[in-house]
Symmetry: C2
Subunit: 322 residues, 2 copies
Amino acid sequence: MLVDALRRLLGEAERDRILLGIGDDAAVWQPSRSHRSVITTDSLVENVHFRRETMSLQDAGWRIMAANLSDIAAMGARPVLCTVAVGVPNEHAADELLELYRGIDQAAKTYSCPVAGGDLSKASELFVSVTMIGEVRPSNLKTRAGARPGDVVAVTGMLGASRAGFDVLENRGALSENAMQEATRAHRRPRPRLAEGRWLGASRQVHAMMDVSDGLGTDLQRMCAGSRCGATLDGIPVAPAVVAMASALNQDPQTYALGGGEDFELLVAVYPRAFKHLSKRFRARFGGELYRIGLFEAGSAVRRRAQDGTMTLLAPGWDHFA
Amino acid sequence: MLVDALRRLLGEAERDRILLGIGDDAAVWQPSRSHRSVITTDSLVENVHFRRETMSLQDAGWRIMAANLSDIAAMGARPVLCTVAVGVPNEHAADELLELYRGIDQAAKTYSCPVAGGDLSKASELFVSVTMIGEVRPSNLKTRAGARPGDVVAVTGMLGASRAGFDVLENRGALSENAMQEATRAHRRPRPRLAEGRWLGASRQVHAMMDVSDGLGTDLQRMCAGSRCGATLDGIPVAPAVVAMASALNQDPQTYALGGGEDFELLVAVYPRAFKHLSKRFRARFGGELYRIGLFEAGSAVRRRAQDGTMTLLAPGWDHFA
């Protein structure tokens, strides 16, 4: 894998200051003894990650911020600031660029993460790279490592809506007006779980945390690999729009949602005896549900149990793709 | 100006934590009372900032790191870590990508600035955005503001060699073998002045500092605008290769060097009575010269005095392009 080759080339980061390097949602370092800073970076490229036919530049700006904010949330951190590097085909297309920045600014203000600097280049296609800094108390920092066999697999919300929105916008399937609005909103204006991330980060009952950005199937495998354990999924919460779109596409809604990325919900490993109490407090605090979707197990297999009890292997085990 | 429109849109950054926002070499924030962190970002786009015909991907990797390291140096800071976001036309061109990272890694190791994270995207042309974090003691932080009328304008080295290297590589003029090597090396492997920046940052006699990345003519105007003063340049040090290239192109070497960017020397404003002593200590410490090239003045004009005494206006005054 290329990422592994790069990691070998770049070597182990200075262990005394960089506490967590390439491979988690964000890298962590220690500016002073009482603080941990986290940093993450993510890019959006036109015609690769979005098309103007289906997404405005303002939505694109919001989305790239949401992706970075979600990585900060996944560490249990709060955002501090970000930088924005943009490449634009035509430097005189100021209106378009302002559209992009408007979306960035909306997210920056909504989540208190000011844009502190940037870089503007000419490029043959539009790209935007955001790098974001967050801060977290050392005791609240959560990573992908730490899930233990027996822990509850939980997510902070329903999955698959962003994928359904993408499929609607790409005309792959039709939805009712309400379902369409729900799905396209999830796709264009995802809400990173910042408050939830800080709250879960502060709980000692939460053993591991990451965000679901590439689809639960893939991301759960990553958490299992990071924690050196396996897991079995029992059933995942899906939005009504997802059920409708999956049925329009003749797919199983759960399978559809498992493969859908960019919902930006948080995936957590919770100490089993504490789950009931934690989810009750979560509901009281945030209104939404902390969904129990499975259990971490010994071994390395990541599996899914269907409603009829049959088991599917999602991944043969992290050893094989470590 | 677009940058101003963006600044207005993004508003004033939270004043309590972000101490210096868009517009200096790097943004500054305060992770804790005893520390200042600085952040900067810079991108390199193929066929905009470099062409493979004249620059290897390894050199391109070094250069984008050098540009960011130079911004850190300009604040008087030391680098802590960086993130690298890359867009590549063909994700399977792993060899090419490793070439780029090899150059990044060489700079990362040379200047102790490990790559802590990154992002890899598909893109129709190669781009790389580096974001770098540095740290500095609050008392050592230097910015573009702070130059006072009467201060000496000084630079940490000779200028124009990178431009001469670019012109050689683009076949715009021929040089002797030695001059060519000197110039192409300056263009492909610029050396950011990190040790010098920290040392100058620690001096109370240095009132303002920035790096010369867009050409001394432009950058001195920026320092004057930031410091609300004017300046007169008397003569700038140019490398032998610059004299040769300028003469091959029928240009005045000083004018040629003034317009040449990316030498990554540091431009400083020094308390006049301290300059002689400071430059002596600089020479003893670094071997090279801290060149006195002019004086800051009251007013807003940025001018140049030729050897025959005639004055040229480099900029009518920062009020007009503020």
